[in-house]
């Protein structure tokens, strides 16, 4: 069964699915017909259809009336519309103007990224990675203290403080200090066990 829109066509141009399909095509070409944009052969076929189809004739009449109204009401559309609409348009532009370059820049980035979700995701990933690496660099990563003997010589005052020494198992280490503990030299002397 045809739908409600084409029921009248069903009645006026005869039953049959092919007729209904052609009827729909003709109806869609009515606008082009009114605007004089149809090919001569298509125009002839449409006029033949219009002779038999009351629904399409009615639609054609409505389109012609609408076109006539538009032509009558807006002989010079720009000249008539501009004085009325322009002040409002200007007010909206000025009212919505960004307060500064920074705002415009933020808006530009926002619009650019909003329209490109992949770019947004990639940008967010890159910025997150950079922030994380920055935090990681700022964070003081503790180094495990060697579990060897701890020697502290006047911490905070001496030029050199040996805080820990861990020799390999077959070696020993001595921390030697020259006569002046604060300004003198500190030597970690490593020797093989047999030499000690």
């Amino acid at each position: 069964m045809p739908d409600a829109v084409s029921r009248q066509a069903w009645e006026c141009i005869g039953k049959g699915k092919a007729n209904v399909i052609w009827h729909r095509r003709y109806r869609h070409s009515l606008n082009a017909y009114v605007d004089g944009e149809l090919e001569p052969s298509a125009r002839q076929r449409l006029e033949a259809h219009l002779a038999d189809c009351g629904e399409c004739r009615g639609q054609l009449e409505r389109l012609k009336k609408l076109q006539g109204l538009l032509r009558q009401g807006l002989k010079d559309p720009v000249a008539e519309v501009a004085p009325v609409l322009w002040p409002g348009v200007r007010a909206r532009i000025e009212g919505g103007r960004p307060s500064g370059r920074f705002t415009a820049w933020v808006r530009q980035i926002w619009e650019a990224t909003w329209e490109r979700p992949r770019l947004s995701l990639a940008g967010a990933t890159v910025i997150s990675a950079l922030l994380l690496s920055t935090v990681y660099l700022l964070w003081e990563t503790p180094v495990a203290t060697p579990p060897g003997k701890t020697v502290v010589l006047r911490p905070g005052q001496a030029q050199v403080v040996v805080e820990a020494v861990e020799p390999e198992p077959e070696f020993g280490a001595m921390v030697l200090t020259t006569s002046d503990e604060d300004e003198g030299l500190h030597v970690i002397w490593v020797v093989a066990r047999g030499e000690m």
Partner: protein, 140 residues
């Protein structure tokens, strides 16, 4: 798009600049101490040798090599000194004018705290040729 590029460039360079700001220059002087007849002493180690001569019995001190590098919290510095020995220096922390270093050589691991620009820590003892090696490690 220029501001966006500038901000991205700043973000990219920020970690690099922070790492560079925390980098500590390290200098290692590799000295051979021996009981050979005393010779001319390199002026670069003159003061050091004078102090060593007070307490050590070596008569000859010869500057073999000088290595310079940088350490930062995330990047230790490694070098190979005389005799093919690996030397690694890692920055543990920077506290005002002091730096705490973790020094690793084939025979000893040590953690020392040095004044930047102050006295070096000396690691000595490994035999080398007719004498022994002494590494003077300082932070700048």
């Amino acid at each position: 798009m220029k501001p966006l590029l500038l901000v991205l460039a700043a973000f990219l360079l920020l970690p690099v600049s922070l790492a560079y700001a925390q980098a500590v220059p390290i200098e290692v002087q590799v000295i051979q101490a021996s009981r050979e007849p005393s010779g001319a002493i390199d002026p670069a180690i003159g003061q050091l040798v004078r102090e060593l001569q007070r307490d050590f019995a070596y008569t000859n001190y010869r500057l073999l090599e000088t290595h310079r590098g940088q350490v930062s919290p995330q990047s230790p510095w490694r070098t190979v000194i005389a005799g093919g020995r690996d030397l690694s220096v890692a920055l543990v922390k920077v506290d005002g004018g002091r730096v705490e270093l973790h020094i690793t050589t084939p025979r000893v691991n040590t953690r020392v705290s040095l004044h930047r620009g102050g006295q070096p820590i000396l690691l000595g003892g490994p035999p080398h040729g007719p004498g022994v090696l002494i590494m003077a490690i300082s932070a700048r």
